[in-house]
Amino acid sequence: MRQIEQKKLLTIITAGELQRMVIEQLKKRGIGGYTVVSASGAGTAGLESGMLMSDSSVIIYIIMSEARLERVLVDMDKFMSRGYRVKAFYQDINIMPRKPGKSSPDS
């Protein structure tokens, strides 16, 4: 049985057009693993129907360590300060590492 590790799951909701910008920033923090899901909804930016390329949202999931999370949250804060519509929240998770008996690298 693999030893369960404690990690953070960061969830970022943003416009599809900003996906590339957010992911490039994550890469600068050494994060290469993430999952992207297309989404639709509504908010202060209006209706995001997901029907056009210009009104689609994405949800980006990233699993990482707490130390790395802090740096990423600072980046998201800077994006938000510049006016980018980015929502970020995180939660504690318990995860089975990919390799048994060895601490898995951060995302």
Binding site: T44, M51, M53, S54, F79, G83, Y84, R85
Partner: protein, 341 residues
């Protein structure tokens, strides 16, 4: 004029748009799966590019075409400049820049619908108008980004002056976007690349080469356009019924007044340089339409301070239906009247 407007309104594609809007307003559960909706946009861009490129290969680029392209570039610079000048006196400068970019650029679907309108009436137009459309897509967003950058720099200086002695924090990762960044974002936009690529393929293959694709680009085109307009109607209806975006009166008026004014300027320009009826109507529609695909997508990245709920809703929820239902027959009637004098 009235008969032209009525026959346009009874066109099945336009009727599907009206149906979609009604269904969207009723908050029905009818929906087109997002993947299919996106495919329809891509299909229309491929068909438009192939047709334009093939027509360009067949007819070449006559003097009329060069004049039309120059006029189109002139309108692509004039409309955002004047729009920003008017809007920035009333609303937030970032919103003004984004709205100016949206109205300075073009709506490919309005252009396609107009081509179909002209084809139904056997009015000829040049393949070079598709080139004009492509060239009108980007100047407005570049101009808007330059304006937004100037506003941002001014605000930063004012803030720095207010916080005397504190220098702004520098961070290379979050430096303001350069024109190169924005140009790269605009020119690598998927919709833009597909349209330009299809135009080049249509030109290289010529009428003979694209003949085999006629079932794809011509035979099913009207049906696909109708289906796409149903989708757009649903989107417009949902935007209206959600009522989330707060469009103030000045912007509301701008969304309906600026298209016919821009169209009138384009028609006078077309008359002055001696374009044909079809080319003049297309130039008017290009000048009167607002982008709701490429520019809103780029503006989210390049002008993040602007509110998408304003510029996207104005372009899609107000100006697009106006042009489809009223604008196209109105501009056609204006051209017929002026050319018939």
């Amino acid at each position: 004029m009235l008969s032209s407007a009525l026959s346009n309104l009874l066109d099945p594609a336009v009727l599907f748009f009206v149906l979609g809007t009604g269904v969207g307003l009723l908050r029905s559960n009818l929906e087109i799966p997002p993947a299919i909706a996106k495919f329809l946009t891509l299909y229309l861009l491929v068909a438009l590019g192939l047709k334009g490129g093939s027509a360009l290969a067949e007819g070449g680029l006559p003097a009329d075409g060069i004049y039309a392209i120059i006029a189109a570039i002139f309108m692509a610079a004039l409309v955002p400049a004047v729009s920003f000048y008017i809007l920035s006196r009333r609303i937030n400068p970032f919103d003004s820049a984004a709205v100016a970019a949206t109205y300075g650029s073009i709506s490919a679907v309005t252009f396609i619908t107009t081509q179909q309108f002209l084809a139904d009436r056997a009015v000829e137009f040049g393949g070079y108008m598709t080139v004009a459309m492509v060239l009108m897509e980007t100047p407005a967003i570049l101009m808007a980004v330059v304006l937004a950058t100037a506003v941002r720099a001014k605000e930063a200086m004012q803030q720095q002056a207010a916080e005397t002695g504190t220098a702004p924090e520098e961070d290379d990762d979050f430096a303001p976007l350069s024109i190169r960044d924005v140009l790269q974002e605009a020119l690598t936009d998927g919709a833009q690349l597909l349209l330009i690529g299809s135009l080049v393929i249509g030109y290289l293959a010529g009428p003979e080469g694209t003949a085999e694709m006629l079932p794809f680009t011509y035979d099913i085109f009207k049906g696909m356009l109708a289906f796409f307009l149903l989708e757009m109607g649903l989107l417009v209806g949902k935007q209206m019924s959600e009522g989330r975006a707060k469009i103030d009166k000045a912007l509301f008026a701008f969304a309906f007044v600026s298209p016919p004014v821009n169209a009138a300027i384009a028609i006078l320009l077309a008359f002055w340089i001696g374009l044909g009826v079809g080319d003049a109507v297309l130039l008017a529609v290009l000048s009167a339409s607002a982008s709701y695909i490429v520019v809103p997508a780029v503006a989210r990245y390049a002008i993040p301070e602007a509110r998408p709920g304003i510029y996207f809703t104005m372009a899609l929820g107000l100006t697009f239906p106006f042009n489809i239902i009223v604008g196209i027959p109105l501009y056609y009637a204006m051209v017929q009247m002026l050319w018939g004098m």
